[in-house]
Amino acid sequence: MPLDIPRLRQDFPILNREVRPGVPLAYLDSTATAQKPLAVINAMDEFYRRFNANIHRGVHTLAEESTAMYEAARAKVARFINAPSAEQIIFTRNTTEAINLVAYTWARVNLKKGDLVVLTEMEHHSNLVPWHMLSAERGVNLEFVPVMDDGLLDLDIYRALLARTPKLVAFTAMSNVLGTINPVAEIIRLAHEAGAATLVDGAQSVPHLPVDVQALDVDFLAFSAHKMLGPTGIGALYGKRPLLEAMPPFLGGGDMIKTVHLRNFVPNDVPHKFEAGTPAIAEAVGFGAAVDYLETIGMDAVASHEQEIIAYALERLEEIPGVKVFGPPADKKGGVAAFTLDGIHPHDVAQILDGSGIAVRAGHHCAQPLHEKFGIPATTRASFYLYSLREEVDKLVKGIYEVKKIFG
């Protein structure tokens, strides 16, 4: 059953906003961050109005309620990606911190000079820079699975790289520029056959596609709440239990310890070992409300709505003279259309579209190497989510024609 989008949009207060008087918002920037339903906003509001207390060590009612709410949120997030247990969800600030956590702990124990980490050319800076830093510090080598002209990964070269027995393969499940949905299960299977561990950047896949960590057999999965209807300030790292248990702690402080003496400490059990200090408690509650909301809708329904929208968007965009959309055809990608418009800079495109209330992003979208690969400094990116309308695509197309007229 297709989603009733106009009804569902009523859940998102910001979608009724006018950018300027008389100019309604068409929000086509969900890949950067998603809008929030009332269920999420209200859950946090309610938390602060009724339950707020610090967690994990308190005996009083508020502390017990807060702790229970925080841990219930962990269980919801675990269930959402089918993690075997809630303890395998570590709350972080965002995808970026989750990847850095692995780089600072697992990688610094398990990788040494000369070891190989395989990445891809389509990675977001968040899955590049932590490895640059590790490489500079430890002499770890980095190699990159190339992106082909059609926006797909070159799996032949991937196989060739695996023959060099990398220790880790870290890659995005979905490109935030090309929209490419990578064959995650296959990439992981091949990596495991070659003896490599795997880290999946799920910043774009977890919000938009059904994700089952057990079916994927992934070792680490990183994602952000703010891209999946949840609040800013919280994200998660999933990890296989033996890996998490063997990892040294990351940040030191309250809650991540079992005991502390003046000169030493004993780390706490997983996941607390990795959550130092007062965590993002209200944000966890909001994150839990977001996955509840998504589960009620159903991730299959979300994905198929986005399939429909992106197919329509590509069809309409590609008929505009001078527009070039990057990435694979609709059936191989999520709801992301990054494009160039001949002779007109993406910043100008985005700013003129903003004049009609159309919110798109222009720039390198934190994937500068990918843009370098395609020989362009920037693209304009329109991206979609469960609340996106075909009429918003029409608005976008009309807006692009106006841009062309202005630059005539």
Partner: protein, 131 residues
């Protein structure tokens, strides 16, 4: 807003008066905005009185970066270099006649940053020049 793209900007973008490169020149500087790939190069020739005798810009990028470079050079030709050193963000905004958000401000101010790094004879352009 389309009015951001008032004729003056589109006009200076499409038909720049000062695009090019002076050779020989007394002052030369170039820099780019990594966020969007905008690039601006400026060459100036001075006269005996410490005034700007002539100037040109070259580069690529969005309409705002290129138009503001053209407007900027136009505004400094025959001005004393000491006056050029005093130019501020506001002067550029006045030339463009529009209000800009932080991202587009960087586009608009790239030429001023390049110009000031050039007239001050600096090795590197810094954002402090345009604050």
């Amino acid at each position: 807003m389309e009015d951001l793209y008032r004729e003056i900007i589109i006009d200076h973008y499409k038909n720049p008066q000062y695009r090019g490169r002076l050779d020989p020149h007394d002052i030369h500087f170039e820099d780019d905005n990594p966020l969007c790939g905008d690039h601006i190069e400026i060459t100036l020739r001075l006269d005996g009185d410490g005034k700007v005798a002539d100037g040109r810009f070259d580069g690529k990028g969005c309409a705002i970066s290129q138009a503001s470079a053209d407007l900027l050079i136009e505004s400094i030709v025959s001005k004393p270099v000491e006056e050029v050193k005093q130019l501020t963000k506001q002067d550029i905004l006045d030339l463009l006649g529009i209000d800009l958000g932080p991202v587009r401000l960087k586009c608009a101010l790239l030429s001023l940053k390049v110009l000031k790094a050039g007239v001050y004879g600096l090795g590197e352009a810094s954002d402090d020049l345009i604050e």
